[in-house]
Every structure is written in C-alpha cells, then in structure tokens.
C-alpha cells in the first residue's frame, strides 16, 4: 500500500519525501484547495520545484484542487488545473463534478483522483465518477467501517485511498456546514474549516477559552490537552448535560488495522495534516513508514509516540471500528 503524505510548504514537502512518502499531496496558495490558510501552500514556482524534487527521488506529487467552484469564478479553478497539469502533477485530487468534467475534456491523459470532499461513499456514486470522468482512485470519507470499505471495494473498479492518521473529520465531508454556520466560511467553498480570522483564544481566570465567531466552543482547564477550534469538537451544554456533542478533541489513528485494510483492498494510506509543521510531517511519515514494515505486535509502542503530537493528545480508530457513543 502506498503512503500518501501531506505538505503545506516546500520545506514540509522535502521532509515528507525524505521520511519515506510514496506520494506527497499539496495545493496552491488560494481557495482552490481545502487547506487555504494564511502563509500555507505553494506558488506555481514552488510547485514546479517540488514536483522536480519528487521526480528526482522517484516519488509522486498529487495536487489537491478540492474545493467547489464558485459560480462565475470558475476560471480560478480552471487555471489552477491547467497549471497543475502543465507543471507535471502526477494526479489531480478533485471534488467538484464540473471541474472533473473540465479536466477530463481538456486533459484526457491526466490522472484524476476523487477527493474525500466529493463525499463519494457508496459503489454507485464511485462507479458513476469512474465511468463519467475516468477517476482512477477515490478517497473515502472517515465515516465508514473497514467492513464497509471492503464491501465498496468489491463493487468498484478504481483504487481506494483512506485516511489512516491525523485530523479526524467526523462529518460527511464536502457537505458539512458547521463552519459556514458560525463564520460564513467553509472548507467546501473557501478552503477553510474554522477560519483563523474568526478564531480567538481568551484567558478567563485559569481557563483558556476558544471562540469561533460569536460562539464559545470550549473551555480548557489548566493543563488540559486542547484541540482545534472546530464546532464538531466543541463542548456544549445540552439540556442538563455538558460535554462533547459530536466528538472529543482527538486524532485519527488506524495504523493498528493495516492487515484488515490490506485485506479490504485499500491501495493507499493517507496522512492528514497539510496545515501542520515540517517537524510533524517528518515524525509522522517516518513513524508510519517504519510501522508498515514492522510486525503487527511491535506497532503499538511505535505509534504511541505520535499521541503527543495529536489533537487532544489522544487518538482513535473512529468510525473504522465504530465504537462511537
């Protein structure tokens, strides 16, 4: 199985390649990709150099153009696709059907992957994308069990890629409106979930408050491990109860299920984290690379060292094992 690794900067790209990535995914410095954060991502020239670096080292570069085109501004996405193809991207990761159609028509030789943002989570949807746009691979949402993945794989003719480590989005990706509800901006249209422009951290006595727009979404006690300021990981008062309504601040780790994923027919394992620093990329990629070539019994201690780098300093297999409340 391939190891697909994130890079938000050229420095992180080099770290991912050097640490053992089979392919690195990245995006342009604009709203065409779902990690459109300040100071992050690649200029055209940086992507050209990154692709060349990958080629020299025999690794692939995937370019994520995985937001949905805004009516009237399609040219931004068309230009990004054109540039990525001309710069030599090994695959484009797309979510918008219109952009998929455009890429297939204009660049028939270009390899196309279906982004998790497309929310293709059943054989019918996936086969439609394969037939209509010749998609070679689909990235499945983090809402399926391993048994679900195996059932899907038996009925589709493309490769399956799944997230195995990093940020845990518990929603139907590409369709989640929580960030839009609180801030007017979403990963789907603007490339930002909980945009930094709407995030504030405030001290209240010994507590740290995280605020998103007009909402206080969490209060962390002294020394309590913190998480990202997303509504899906917020702590709320609901009736007489108080707690995490959707999911705790926690990261995904399914590396304990490698054999089951392989048996299910998964082709590629994806690490989330284009917004993370190069130190994170280097540590996670090298650890997962080592874990892939380690006996199952020895993986636990190896992966345990990544907990400290995880959201809330904890990890879960999430929906893959379906142990949610």
């Amino acid at each position: 199985m391939e190891l697909i690794c994130p890079a938000g900067t050229p420095a992180a790209f080099r770290q991912a390649v050097d640490a053992g990535a089979d392919a690195v995914y990245c995006g342009f410095r604009d709203e065409t990709n779902a990690r459109n954060f300040p100071g992050l991502n690649f200029s055209r020239e940086e992507l050209r150099e990154a692709i060349a670096y990958g080629r020299r080292n025999d690794y692939q570069t995937f370019v994520a153009l995985n937001t949905f085109m805004r009516a009237g501004d399609e040219e931004i996405w068309y230009r990004a696709a054109s540039d990525a193809v001309n710069l030599g991207a090994d695959a484009l990761i797309l979510a918008d059907f219109g952009l998929m159609a455009h890429v297939r028509e204009r660049y028939p030789e270009q390899r196309l992957h279906v982004s998790v943002q497309a929310s293709a989570s059943n054989p019918e949807a996936i086969n439609f994308l394969v037939e209509a746009f010749e998609a070679k691979r689909v990235v499945l949402p983090r809402t399926l069990t391993i048994a679900d993945i195996a059932r899907i794989k038996r009925k589709v003719s493309c490769e399956i890629e799944i997230f195995v480590f990093g940020g845990l989005c518990v929603m139907a990706e590409g369709r989640c409106s929580l960030s839009s509800y609180a801030t007017g901006k979403s990963p789907n249209m603007n490339g930002v979930c909980s945009p930094a422009s709407h995030v504030r951290y405030r001290k209240e006595g010994t507590l740290m408050l995280s605020e998103l727009g007009e909402f206080t979404i969490n209060k962390f006690g002294p020394g309590e491990a913190a998480g990202y300021p997303t509504l899906c990981k917020g702590r709320f008062d609901i009736g007489d109860a108080s707690g995490y309504a959707f999911e705790d601040p926690i990261s995904l780790d399914v590396m304990g299920e490698i054999e089951a994923l392989k048996a299910a027919g998964v082709s590629a394992l994806k690490i989330e984290g284009r917004q993370r620093g190069k130190a994170y990329v280097a540590e996670v990629v090298s650890t997962l690379r080592e874990a892939l070539s380690t006996e199952p019994a020895a993986r636990g201690p190896l992966l345990a060292r990544l907990k400290a780098m995880s959201e809330g300093q904890r990890t879960t297999a999430g929906a893959y094992e379906k142990r949610w409340r």
Binding site: P38, G39, Y201, A225, G277, Y280
Partner: protein
C-alpha cells in the same frame, strides 16, 4: 541547570538597551542569512508580533515590515497584533522548525493570542525557512565562527534533550 535559568537573572538585572543591542545584532544576522524569512507573511507583514518566553523577564517585539526588533520588560505595557508565549527553548525550537506548533498548543506548552491569521502566517513563514541558529549566527564570531557553531550546537542539543 537549565539554560534559561542561567540567563534569567542577568537579563533581569542588566539595563535593557545593551541587551536589546545584542538581540538586534542577532536578528539582523538572521535576516541576512534568510532574506526571504517573512515572504510568506503577505498582508500580515505589517503586523506587530510579541514573543514572550515564560522563563525570562523579557518580551521580544518583532515588526517584520521594518523589519525591527525591540525588547520590553514584562512589567511594561505592550501592544501587539498577535502574541506567542512559551518557554524560551520551545520558542527557539519553533523558530528552527524542530517542533510542531500545533502539538505544543495541544499540550498547552504554547499559548497564542490576538490575530490568529497573523499567527498562522508567521508560523508557516518560519516553518518554511531552514533556520539553523548555530550555523546562521555563529558567523558573528569571525575567525572563531567554527568554535562558536560547535559550542552553540552542543548547547542546543542539551536544551532540546531537556525539553523532550
């Protein structure tokens, strides 16, 4: 004894002007070694950033638009668009991209305040620069540069070991 324990007392006692002079010289050298240091800041280049080592009596104020660096005592009233607080060694490790800012935030070792877009832009700008403080700053040592680099590398190794 921890590195910052050795620094804290003299930095608290010395007049701030000569300390600031030394800090500015180091800052200038870093900019010479990395002229693209603030390129990724974009529209946030005009912001004022405060860096507060929790284990030193000083606050470092950086204005990339200048670029300028100034020092303040912690008791002074400081105004900044965005601020970062952490132990000195962690701040230096972040400057070199040796640790992940999100991980330090999750563990509560790092605190951030103010404009989060500016903070993210700065974090990403620094993370993309291959800063190596012993290598970059030891040039100030002139003919003793190799010795300075060796000494500084050893200090860094010990400091990072203590941090881990």
């Amino acid at each position: 004894m921890r590195l910052t324990s050795l620094l804290a007392m003299p930095l608290g006692a010395l007049p701030i002007i000569p300390v600031q002079h030394v800090a500015r010289r180091l800052f200038q050298r870093l900019l010479e070694a990395h002229p693209d240091l603030f390129d990724r800041l974009g529209e946030y280049r005009g912001c004022r950033f405060s860096f507060t080592p929790t284990d030193l009596p000083l606050i470092f104020l950086v204005e990339p638009g200048g670029p300028t660096l100034s020092l303040k005592r912690k008791r002074a009233v400081v105004s900044a668009d965005a601020g970062v607080e952490a132990p000195l060694v962690m701040l230096l490790a972040l400057l070199e991209g040796r640790c992940d800012a999100d991980a330090l935030f999750f563990s509560r070792d790092l605190q951030v305040s103010g404009d989060m877009e500016a903070i993210l832009a700065l974090r990403n700008a620094l993370d993309d620069c291959d800063i190596d403080l012993p290598r970059d700053l030891s040039q100030l040592g002139g003919p003793l540069a190799p010795l300075c680099a060796k000494f500084a590398t050893e200090v860094r190794r010990r400091a990072l070991k203590e941090m881990a």
